[in-house]
Symmetry: C3
Subunit: 316 residues, 3 copies
């Protein structure tokens, strides 16, 4: 009945690999669970012994201090044992070897893997290989998916906007290379956002992006007009060159978010960014630090959302 | 009465440095203790608070993700505090400096060190230097010894074969550079295995290996005939060149374990490998993943065996 | 009334950034608290749950295994969750980015940061930026300050000499580049040491060092005469060249501490060194390992002192 590799036979979350095809009930379950981890009186995430005795492995084939740390914090808040394995891509030349590495860690009593890999599909490959008592979280695979980032973004939008069914959301920047953008679009669609816009130069847009149900804008003034949510993406320097962008200054002029452009959105629009920011490239400091920015709350919510995913996968 | 540097005056295990000269009673004590850590109903290692408050230092002068992680997992299963110190060999030019490093960590209240070093004898040097309340585990020194690997191999053999006194065991591959092989041979001898064979090209055998009481084979078909246990060794690429092996393909042809060669052994023979495997070099995938392979159980038993060593050293 | 950035409005320690201007009552409070963490019967630091649930981040922009580990041990002895972030200086080009990194970690529920940075003032910058529920410990900023090292040195001096008001203390070596020396001089002054000497070649002394109230010696025999405490500093090779020192042998001849030179000090003088030592460069092995050396006790006291700083900052 259900051939979604993320769900078990009872329709429960078995792995978190992508937001594509994730049922709306699972989305809401994760967001509600994350809510329960936030101490509303202190706006802090509580420490709880839900995963005591569980072993979670951060299996990072791409370097990442930031994302790796968020999972480490989430795991320790749940009282799990967390093991960091930073595996240089060089030691991993074949998919077969990747699976041998995973098999060995499973034999060392891993309960859950958080996987980041430069190749799209790596987390899926692992998920299709392991026994059903092992759970995989995709922490970013190539330019494919980054579902926990999208989930924390959805948490943030719900927190400030309360409902998804009445929103205009714009995603702005390097859509082409962004696993974050892809995961956000699927999540926003599933949660019922009626109008999703992507704003980017043609060189930073995937072909046929319209098929995902989004509206394409190349002009930022038109694209941000009346939106409720602006999601800025990070522009990576090496990608700017390939995209034939003359300079970061030029990029900022056309696609950087300034206070002036922000005035075109709804007065209560929120500004989001998955971090780390390039101030003066994709966003003006006045906006990043302004009162419409929810960039730091996103980070806090990210801990609660990752705790929620981990505890739902563990069945507790 | 006892001048074994691994034992204290009462004949108890003070350090684990090598399987050479380790009394059979100590071997059996470690194997039995490891057995007690395995939850037989669930085939899982249990988490217990035996070493709560103890500080264990992973002191790795050679890079190793895999072995380091097994000790980290064992320590955390015992509820110890584990500290990882990956010390580049470059910062360590003199034995004196090595001992200064150790003295400093002892002053920081280390209770136990797990030491890996490219120089044979490094763990012995440290053991001879520290006070008697500090315990050293050799996690591999040069091409000398790797006793916890040999112990987990003995655990695996006993688990599947129940008794050592009736076995033919073959160790196959790069015996010359292998600290694992050396530690295995001493362990098998002490535990009473009547027939230990080593199978390798002449260029990968130490001179006078027969003195250890092993039977030497250069032909694999003859060597594996009727054996009960096959222990494959990893072939490292850089060593293959020095050994004048023309190619990995050539090596596989003569010394790689195939299903066909495996048929020459006892029908219930088990296949072991210390990992990580080079599939298609020293072992065929069909064998590695076959029903006679106990390579992944070895890894699981390795956690229990390292927990046993740590808790016996700590006297708990 | 109080504009010391380290103190809150009630005069309590808010951050530990430098020993300069730190009130004597705070010094004594830290030393007394550290004393309470030492189990005098066993000369061991006890493990206590004072900071359970707190998140402490080791934020090291300069590589350091040794100092980072002391803070990790101290945090774990207090049952805090500790997260290691080793951030290559290359990824940090602007102060603004440094603060974005800090803001993100605060959003991840950091309670305390231990900061090491190659730029003087980095810890101050962070301290002036964060909310008052966040605490900063400077673990070394450029050639400016290293207050926990100075505090453990003061603990060591008080432990062996009982009182500061009657002492002659000599600091010997590369004063110019030493954040340790600077922090020691401020601490010794505040605690009432009547005679502080610095002994170094002119090329390794800051200009106008006398303004700090110290007596300058270029001749070691004169400088160490009748002192009660000798604090040796590490000579870094790359700095030796800039200082126009012909060789380490030459340096040792004039400024290395030998048993012979030590005879010129008080018979019960103690010898200290912040580590790691260059044996045969700034100190003779016979002295480093001799009975007047308190170099290893310094390391042990360092754990207790860092526990004291952490728990005082956390208000527990």
């Amino acid at each position: 009945m259900n051939n979604n590799p993320q769900l078990n036979r009872n329709g429960q979350l078995q792995h978190l690999l992508t937001t594509e095809g994730l049922p709306v009930a699972i989305f809401l379950n994760i967001l509600d669970k994350a809510e329960s981890f936030i101490d509303t009186s202190k706006h802090e995430v509580k420490k709880i012994p839900l995963l005591r005795g569980k072993s979670i492995f951060n299996l990072f084939f791409e370097p990442s201090t930031r994302t790796r740390t968020t999972f480490e914090i989430a795991a320790k808040h749940l009282s799990a044992d967390l093991f960091n394995l930073n595996i240089a891509a060089s030691s991993q030349s074949k998919g077969e070897t990747l699976l041998d590495t995973v098999d060995n860690l499973v034999a060392m009593h891993a309960d859950m893997f958080v996987v980041r890999h430069s190749q799209s599909g790596a987390a899926h490959l692992i998920a299709s290989h392991v026994d059903k008592n092992i759970h995989i979280i995709n922490a970013g695979d190539g330019s494919h998916a980054h579902p926990t980032q999208a989930l924390l973004d959805m948490f943030t939008i719900r927190h400030y906007k309360h409902d998804f069914h009445d929103l205009r959301v714009a995603i702005i920047g390097d859509i082409l290379h962004s696993r974050v953008a892809r995961s956000q679009i699927h999540a926003l669609s599933t949660l019922g956002v009626p109008e999703i816009r992507v704003i980017a130069p043609k060189t930073l847009l995937p072909s046929k992006i319209e098929r995902l149900g989004v509206h394409v804008y190349h002009d930022m003034a038109q694209g941000v007009k009346d939106v409720d949510v602006l999601i800025m993406l990070r522009l990576q320097n090496e990608r700017m060159q390939r995209a034939s962008l003359p300079s970061t200054g030029e990029y900022f002029k056309y696609y950087g978010l300034t206070q002036k452009k922000l005035y075109l959105a709804q007065p209560d629009a929120i500004v989001m960014h998955p971090g780390p920011m390039n101030r003066g490239v994709e966003i003006e400091s006045a906006v990043a630090d302004g009162k419409q920015s929810v960039i730091l709350p996103q980070v806090s919510f990210g801990i609660a959302v990752r705790m929620a995913v981990m505890s739902i996968l563990a069945g507790v």
